[in-house]
Amino acid sequence: MGIISAIGHTVEDHRTSLMASKSGISTISNFKTAHANSIKVGEIKKTNLELSKQLNLPENHNYTRTALLGCIAVKEALAQAHISDVSNYKTGLISATTVGGMDKSELHFPDFNSSEKAEKYISSHHAGDSTNKIANYFNITEFVTTISTACSSATNAIMLGVRLIRSGHLDRVIVGGTDPLCKFTINGFKSLMILSDEICAPFDSNRKGLNLGEAGAFLILESERVRQDKPILAYVSGYGNANDAFHQTASSENGDGAFLAMQKALKLAKIQPEHIDYINAHGTATVNNDASESAAIKRLFTQVPKFSSTKAFTGHTLATAGAVEAIISILAIQEQAVFPNLNFKNPIPESGLIPETKLVSAKIDHVLSNSFGFGGNCSTLILSKA
């Protein structure tokens, strides 16, 4: 696993922050936006220049922040899996992004026609560019693709990775996502009026909206043949993808899509709802998501297991959220602990659901992780103890 987000630049940083209940939400400082004082964000306090240096890139490169964050996370993941040469097995890369090259496009848009400095970012605009750059940086030559289903993207990347291994297409696949903060998404979510000016409070009755975040997060999936005697961090034992088919941006009241995605994942994992020890919820802290997700959870689980949303730590990292939370779920399995849902005070009256608000020890064999996005996209992953 490899990850860089507002709560740290490595997996170990994340473990430390999560165990210490330390949020990474702050005021934006890497770039200027008119909304700087009216929103809180999960920002990585490293400039593009610092990230470029960390990757030893030449000065005239045209890596977007999306590609930079992705490379940093993949680099750590490869090191952790002791992979020095990706070519010894058929290795693929599936990345997820919503921003693509927008962080540079929005900066250079007015002078694309007139400035050479701007021009090099025309070809980096499309979403696949960041993934192609990550592949080139690590000499990945086999299957490489990008998924963009809004905030469920990285979960879908993990799903496809499993499918490619199950079918024998690949021996090993690097799966995850990368999304930086940018004005485009800040203004988009602002215009939808779902950004909070405080640290978000998922599942709280007075929740005010979400904090956008940024992250690069990748996991390495390997077939049994490739793994040999390396330690297994966890199994992807189930996955499910369903569409709410209700509204382009809003979730249905009864959470049909979420319910179906969780149900599919349990079926594939061949386990019952009562076997889930912890739910890492999507829990964005918007009025709509948390109500809908609560309804879906209550429909599926007669006895709702321990659950929390970790969005108040990292912010909502959009396309990357599914990979960020898959890593957090694996850390929960390793620590045999449920990470807290920060800032919760009162339950939503309609659901009455109360998340874990303090770090608690628990026997954790199976974690269910949800990621839902625009377009009714609902995806669920089940990660299990090795």
Binding site: S105, F143, L260
Partner: protein
């Protein structure tokens, strides 16, 4: 393992390809940087109220998908998988311009909502009230192939029975034009205009009257020029074939056409070779058109008029291999056969 059949193929392109019996291509206008598609009569498929709210990518996608489903006799698919290179670029440009023009103030969310890459797949699902698997691939020139490969895996692994697969790209007004000018300046000599289109296919594990077989889809990030031919031969071997009756390539008059030349100069030099981008223009998911063309050839046993063809032997088309790449990366092979 179940066989993956393609039971329908629908094309919206710069040519008369939508729901026509016979394909005849006319030369493309090379004088401008961008060429728009020939829009079908959208109102036959979409209500006037819905049409007003839709971007051109959504209109094309919804229309092409409906015809693809009806031709493949799919009522509600088990999965909707789409690919798009530039995404909903029109709405993206609109929202970006508004942010800059209004200095991040007075913004309405409509364009932002529509700019999301998975809008087309989501709108198709919404229209059908289809709650099944839905995914969108956005990796440049292999966006459509990624969706096609995922669909094939789902059918073979028995996860789904009938799948709608599509590739969509709209042209917008700014980025594609910038790309064209940028590539010209690069000296890479790309002379094909940028264009747009939508291609949808009904896939199933059940064979129908007009089925063809999807034997292989391979996506490779990098491939050395001298190993393309070997790779193609290995794909044929894996499918139990010694030769192929036609090859459709993604030539586009740029310096990277050498990849195609190198591929075709030995074993396949006497195989029928067909190009298509010179009649429909260039965009990331234009390879969907190649699958549409191959399906037409396998069903009708003829090459449509107006294409650049090198034909050495006239024989029935039983197997067609598609090869495409973009600037020396994002290589893809698709093998289709009669069945």
């Amino acid at each position: 393992m179940k066989t993956c059949y393609i039971n329908s193929a629908v094309s919206i392109s710069t040519q008369d390809t939508f729901d026509v019996e016979k394909l005849v291509f006319k030369p493309l206008d090379y004088s401008s940087s961008t060429v728009r598609v020939k829009y079908p009569e959208f109102k036959k498929f979409i209500s006037p109220i819905a049409l007003r709210r839709m971007s051109s990518a959504v209109k094309m996608g919804v229309t092409a998908s409906q015809l693809a489903m009806s031709k493949a006799e799919i009522e509600v698919p088990d999965a909707i998988l789409t690919g798009t290179g530039m995404g909903c670029i029109d709405a993206t440009e609109t929202f970006l311009e508004a942010i800059i023009a209004n200095n991040e103030d007075f913004l309405t969310p409509t364009a932002f909502i529509q700019s999301t890459h998975n809008t087309v797949g989501a709108q198709i699902a919404l229209g059908l009230k289809c709650k099944s698997y839905n995914n969108t691939y956005v990796n440049g020139a292999v966006s459509f192939e990624s969706a096609l490969l995922d669909a094939k895996l789902c059918i073979e692994l028995d996860e789904d029975n009938s799948i709608l697969v599509g590739g969509i790209d709209e042209i917008g007004t700014i980025f594609c034009d910038l790309q064209y000018k940028n590539e010209l300046k690069d000296g890479s000599g790309i002379r094909l205009p940028k264009s747009e289109g939508a291609h949808f296919f009904g896939l199933s594990n059940i064979k129908k009257e007009n089925s063809i077989c999807l034997k292989s889809v391979e996506v490779l990030h990098h491939l050395k020029m001298d190993s393309i031919e070997t790779h193609a031969i290995s794909i044929l071997k894996k499918c139990g074939l010694d030769e192929v009756d036609a090859i459709i390539t993604g030539h586009k008059n740029d310096e990277f056409d050498v990849y195609y030349e190198s591929f075709l100069e030995n074993t396949f030099q006497n195989t029928t070779q067909i190009r298509y981008k010179d009649v429909v223009g260039d965009y990331f998911t234009v390879s969907g058109f190649a699958v549409f063309l191959a399906q037409y050839m396998l069903i009708n046993q003829t090459i449509p008029e107006g294409l650049t063809v090198k034909q050495n032997k006239v024989k029935p088309f039983k197997t067609i291999l598609l090869y495409n790449q973009e600037q020396g990366q994002n290589h893809s092979f698709i093998l289709l056969t009669t069945c």
